[in-house]
Symmetry: C2
Subunit: 418 residues, 2 copies
């Protein structure tokens, strides 16, 4: 079976005003939905970023992959490299580390690799997690992803999560997440308030949920001294501290002082970043992400590298829909070395492109879908609606900073700002 046609559909789904170090989530989050048609009714699904610059690259690759065999993931990599060359996709949010050629190629490969794997599964009647070497866990644990947030997008009515700008708001949010999804670990997206204000929320979370492992991710807005101070202040409270400061050198300095492991999805985001991080001892936990590591298979290689070098593994999440969650679940389910619950933005969305009901959270875990391939089905009407929403939204790239400046014109999203 060979690729006959590829359809890339940009979609937008309503998002909440979630705050982070770069600003605030826009009213709509963008994604690209891939349908890779292998003929005879065999269509593999993929999902990735929806920024216009990324869509342009996806479109170029979409033409180039015509004729590739459904098994040929190595050919896919060659094809993407030959087509895109040195092109570098630079996102506007910077929350997943530096842009680079290798990361761009990996991101493009990933969207297609997921679709190829989905098609392989449909062709053989097997789940992607089985094809990826075997399902080592039938359900994947996720962490509650807590955000400081506005109560509403400017000019809009308040959303049903309400405002969370202090410890009380964050604890309230955590309580609802736990009640609704059963999460048994917590992650606070920080980098929004000065570190001591956020520390209050972290301490309150630990007090309110003493049995739940807790992480804190300020997205590298602290200096090395601040990071060291905060790390010591949260000894015994955090299971890991994520990206307190920027860069592998700074992270290594903090790592030497911190009583807990440091995690990253910013200073190690593609294979060329790994050797220096290991040499310096920058990290104790890597947050993998199949979207930018090249797809599920390279993400498994990352896990094997982490296991080899004694580094823990968790999983990063951007705002995503159901195809991505399914791919995350299959990847995590077939990765023996996964040492922490994964991140997901899932609770922050109310609409999707897939038929409802397959991906559900029970006790904070998502069971591996039982159907062949990814086990999720595209809902053409929903795809159409979310594409229409994309067209109408006028949003063409994620840009949390510009949106935040509509309210706080002087905001500057500097690294190491505190």
């Amino acid at each position: 079976m060979h690729v006959k046609d590829v359809v890339v559909t940009p979609v937008a789904f309503a998002d909440h005003p979630l705050l982070n170090s770069m600003g605030v989530h826009q009213p709509f989050a963008l994604r690209s939905i891939l349908q890779v048609d292998f003929g005879d009714g065999l269509v593999g699904l993929g999902e990735s970023y929806g920024d216009d610059a990324f869509l342009s690259l996806l479109d170029v690759v979409a033409t180039a992959v015509i004729g590739l065999d459904v098994l040929d993931l190595n050919g896919l990599r060659r094809c993407v490299a030959a087509t895109v060359g040195e092109a570098t996709f630079r996102d506007r949010h910077g929350l997943t580390g530096a842009a680079s050629g290798p990361k761009t190629l990996a991101s493009l490969c990933s969207a297609f690799e997921v679709a190829f794997l989905d098609a392989q599964g449909k062709l053989t009647g097997r789940r992607v997690s089985d094809l990826l070497g075997g399902t080592v866990r039938e359900a994947v644990a996720f962490s509650a992803y807590l955000f400081y947030k506005w109560g509403a997008h400017p000019g809009q009515p308040e959303d049903d999560w309400g405002e969370a700008l202090d410890a009380d708001g964050v604890v309230r949010q955590a309580r609802r997440m736990i009640e609704q999804y059963g999460f048994s670990s917590l992650k606070l997206k920080g980098g929004v308030l000065p570190p001591d204000d956020e520390l209050e929320a972290v301490v309150e979370l630990a007090r309110a949920f003493p049995d739940l492992p807790l992480r804190w991710d300020p997205n590298a807005v602290w200096t090395v001294p601040t990071s060291c101070r905060v790390a010591k202040a949260t000894a015994g409270i955090l299971e890991y501290l994520e990206d307190p400061t920027s860069g592998r050198i700074g992270m290594a300095e903090v790592a030497r002082e911190a009583p807990m492991p440091l995690a990253t999805n910013m200073c190690v985001v593609s294979f060329p970043d790994i050797p220096e991080a290991i040499e310096l001892g920058s990290i104790g936990v890597l947050l993998s992400d199949h979207h930018y590591w090249g797809g599920p298979r390279p993400t498994q290689v990352v896990a094997d590298i982490c296991e080899t070098f004694g580094i823990g593994l968790s999983m990063h999440s951007n705002s995503h829909l159901g195809i991505s969650l399914a791919a995350m679940v299959h990847t995590a389910a077939s990765t023996p070395h996964l040492t922490y619950a994964c991140d997901t933005h899932w609770p922050w969305k109310d609409e999707d492109v897939i038929v409802d009901g397959v991906l559900t959270f029970v006790d904070g875990e998502v069971a591996v879908p039982s159907g062949p391939g990814l086990g999720v089905e595209l809902d053409p009407d929903a795809l159409g609606r979310l594409h229409e929403q994309y067209v109408r939204s006028g949003i063409r790239r994620r840009d949390d900073t510009t949106y935040f400046r509509t309210v706080h014109p002087d905001f500057s999203p500097d690294l190491n700002r505190w």
Copy 2:
């Protein structure tokens, strides 16, 4: 499809009196042949070591894997670990580094992983190299594996290769190998004569075949100073120098002085060995071997690790039959980061368990077999003959040293002896 039955058949094939640092090859080389039966006529083939201690472990695993799904390579690993625990297979030749629990588990997994992959291919009508991520090369280059050798086993008539105990003999052997198989690179197994005597042969080989890359492998019988001296004396002659001295620390000392990369299949032989070798800079080239790295898939991970850390990749060979050669070819064909021709003992055997004709050398390369799975077929009569030969031979473990001592009673196979 799940494992219904496993048949492990020990076989012996006639071998030549090839000399190495540990002694000399016995008249017969031992292998185990695996037939993993998934029912409905689906049988996957594997091949590995035939030493009695390894066969005992294979037999234990053979019972434990009953019921495993054909895709479940992760389950295979769990099953082997649970069954064999801390058992350590200690070979008697020591030519592939230290024995360890992880290496033992990986070796046992490998034999079955190959059989599972063969079955997956037969089930889907696809080649193993396609299933392993896609065939990046349709033919795999091998190196001529030159040996110092006796003309005959003691008490036997001379074999048709004749004696090779000096530079002339080695050059003559190389000429025949090149004429017969088309090899375009050369490897001399050293560690037999004092280094300066072997250096003569190396210089003569380089003079006789100036366009062919050349390697030299004394299996760690030199001290660090000798290794440094020889490395400098072969500047511009060797593409790499393999295991001149023992251990990752000694190798790193030599690596700092040597003008060419150092290669190993002795100081880095399982995943736990990798971090120190990278930290110390012990090696520039890793010789992978699916037989002890856990199978084709872990061997691909090793390649990815090497690529990530800027280390070259070649492939090691023990004496083997056609199932192993097929597995080596499929693994190499689907591994993008393979930077040198692979090793093989193929020319040194005259009998096999597979139906003839699929694996042939053209210009030193073996084309990926086109049939499903490994693409090789077991010949039941040949399997029976080689099993009978195993029974009659009385050899139950590879022991080059004891055999060598029947001629040279005072021989001591010390590392770093020169």
